[in-house]
Subunit: 444 residues, 2 copies
């Protein structure tokens, strides 16, 4: 059988990785796929540089549209990134009847509904394993491997940069700013790390996983997004003393009223496997009603791990492109016509409706009655307490002004309730600084 031909748009780090792995493992891959898969055309801004990288057998153009239009090209691999020209080209490829493989989480999380609808109408596939958790085949696990299950929740470390920073903050006891600089120097964080450290990248990936887990459309605009920039080493230390690790988690949960969709730092029991995922690694825990708890772990970024996912998608397309569209794996795991109803039945809940447990750190005056005041307010609001840790007082403001940290772990509470009681606690004259509030999940 003739090799299937793909056109690669964008020859950056990941694009180069795809090209290298496909060439290096071409025998192995075609023994699996039953036919060869070749990248015969590449679009790049710097044509001369790209040509020198891919060699003379591959046609390099500055014009991506010419590649899309080429009748020999069956699959378009979009590795440009972002929601600008990448969106235009993906839609152009779909309109031209080409299958698309992309690693572009931002594009799909924000414009997925439009893109998947266009692809379904045109009868082509848009594959995106590489958009979430790099080389870990988590999209395939959710869409196919766990297809028997009613998924109850999933939680993931899906941003390597922030996990690297948190691991270093904990193991070295150093502050966020210092570790971020180190991460940038080592190449674990980009020069502009905003999307990573503010949780936006994780929220893009979580949005995609939430859609395929629950059969709802992508709804990035409804995600609660919180990063790690405000996280203090003191909280990492206190959490550890209480038997927890702090991780930036993307969490999505099916509850009675709808779906929770949230990215934020989170305390996780130290004995959970996911709490022990260190450095730039990724992991996703998925809870299904039949399978129970499963976990998927691996490198979440990098040229070759991401290439591993891109090429898996290419092989899937090589296998499935001759099948009727109705027999293919649906883009968002569930048949497209069922998504709208599911969105009504499972609305994304506002953060105030989320139920979770909490870690609170209060800087308080070291005087009699403070603990009673604080716990009294919690009791009045119906918030039950799981554990309290009171530190030795330390003298910070001279004689008579001893202060201390009061750490409280709560049981499950509605976030709206917690917001209200926190406002009342904050108003106490004995509470001397803004209260730190982190969420906590058992993940069992």
């Amino acid at each position: 059988m003739k090799p299937i031909q793909a056109g690669l748009l964008g020859l950056g780090t990941v694009g180069g990785g795809v090209f290298d792995v496909l060439r290096r493992n071409q025998d192995e891959i075609s023994r699996r796929a039953g036919r060869g898969i070749q990248i015969t055309m590449v679009a790049a801004r710097d044509v001369a540089r790209a040509q020198s990288l891919v060699g003379p057998d591959v046609q390099v153009l500055g014009d991506a549209s010419a590649i899309i239009a080429n009748p020999d090209i069956a699959i378009v691999i979009e590795l440009i990134g972002g929601c600008g020209i990448a969106k235009t080209l993906v839609l152009e490829a779909i309109a031209a009847g080409k299958h698309v493989v992309t690693a572009n989480k931002a594009l799909l999380a924000v414009h997925g509904s439009e893109i998947f609808a266009a692809a379904s109408a045109r009868g082509v596939m848009v594959a995106f394993e590489a958009a979430v958790a790099g080389g870990i085949p988590i999209i395939k696990a959710l869409r196919e491997g766990l297809t028997a299950n009613r998924i109850q929740w999933l939680a993931g470390i899906i941003n390597g940069t922030t996990n690297f920073i948190l691991s270093e903050m904990r193991s070295q006891g150093r502050d966020f700013d210092v570790v971020l600089e180190e991460a940038q120097r080592l190449g674990y964080a980009e020069a502009d790390p905003g999307f990573d450290i503010q949780g936006v990248d994780a929220a893009h990936k979580l949005t995609l996983m939430s859609a395929i887990a629950f059969g709802i459309p992508v709804q990035f605009d409804k995600a609660h997004v919180e990063g790690i920039t405000a996280l203090a080493t003191a909280d990492i230390r206190y959490a550890e003393q209480l038997g927890y690790r702090i991780k930036l988690l993307g969490i999505t949960k099916r509850v009675d009223k709808g779906v929770e969709l949230r990215v934020h730092p989170c305390l996780v029991p130290a004995k959970r496997l996911i709490a022990n995922v260190e450095g730039a690694m990724n992991a996703v825990v998925v809870q299904g009603d039949a399978v129970g708890t499963t976990l998927y772990y691996g490198k979440g970024a990098g040229a070759e791990p991401t290439a591993s996912a891109v090429i898996a998608d290419l092989v899937d397309i090589a296998r499935l492109h001759t099948a009727d569209p109705e027999h293919r794996v649906p883009h968002l795991a569930f048949q497209p016509h069922t998504l709208a109803d599911a969105m009504d039945a499972l609305p994304v809940l506002p953060m105030s409706e989320v139920v979770t447990s909490y870690y609170l750190r209060l800087r308080v005056a070291d005087q009699a009655g403070v603990l009673a005041q604080v716990t009294g307010l919690l009791a009045e609001a119906g918030v039950s307490i799981d554990a309290v840790l009171q530190r030795e007082a330390d003298e910070v403001g001279g004689a008579g002004s001893a202060q201390t940290d009061l750490i409280i772990l709560t049981h499950d509470t509605r976030e709206g309730t917690m917001d209200a009681v926190m406002a009342r606690m904050q108003a106490l004259t004995t509470v001397l600084a803004p209260i730190t509030r982190l969420r906590k999940e058992a993940l069992n």
Copy 2:
């Protein structure tokens, strides 16, 4: 589209689970699959009991062959187990042009070549996600998710019974026999636990994973199989002191001369995620050249976790059965015509050719020069030492006969070399008991 109809052979624990999950989640599953999947016929020994379990809508027969022959049945689910009647029925189903889903690791590890050849010739699928690691979609990950990779090695905790026993031996400090009895009482071990505790069940599963990882035929007869019956709590304790956990691992590795295929207790660094997989849980670590290290974790047994895998296979078949056989995922991941050549290029190595590192425990006389004798023999054989742990002497045989345990960790050594040097050490008059030898893997 009309539901696809399946016939279920065997309504034991797993069969009941498949039936329950398929009924409970039928809406969710058909929203994913694009069509319903129904079990319309069941074969069971006790027809009346089975009929009361599945209800009046399902036809229950004592004669499995009648179900296979029924023209409405497109898929046969074999959950009888073993290599007797199950083999006959699977081959009968294939001959009748039916797709087969099975959880039968023993059957496929031993007779896989015959069964897959028959299925390929008849153009039907034999799906076996449930045969390895219960609900963890590891077959799909290896055959599809990691298809870009040259797999270098994989190592798995793929038998829950033995992992439960090892976890209890470590945490409770109790002996194998005591824990085995408890496991039997709790239902974690069968009344006849032989296949589990002797490593045979793990070797069946490893044989299947090795074939799909490296593109070689199943060769169960060439696997090295060692169980946990001889494992002493003392070794678990010493390993812990040295920073290791002992797990029963199935390991298969691609090396220059061929493929290692072995099941045995193994020291693993305590900081690895897989070392922290406790109780009856399963996990598999896979190392690919592009993706790096990935890990898959979940329940390896039980009615509903196994049902999760069986139903995932049913959905895959519902999707792929209209595609040409050449466009389906090959049974053993690689195109069948390539397997024989691969077997020649990658023979399964005899254990004497395996290279690994070792943990040795020697019961020695507590007298000057013993350590020098022992390490001298290792040096002569070219075995280099990673660490030595010498215990305080204890008086066991009365005055003058003090004995002690000498624990040695080696660097990588060929097993044949180790066998020879162990024989020489054993012959020393100062070595007072049979030497304990365990293998050790870094898994990084």
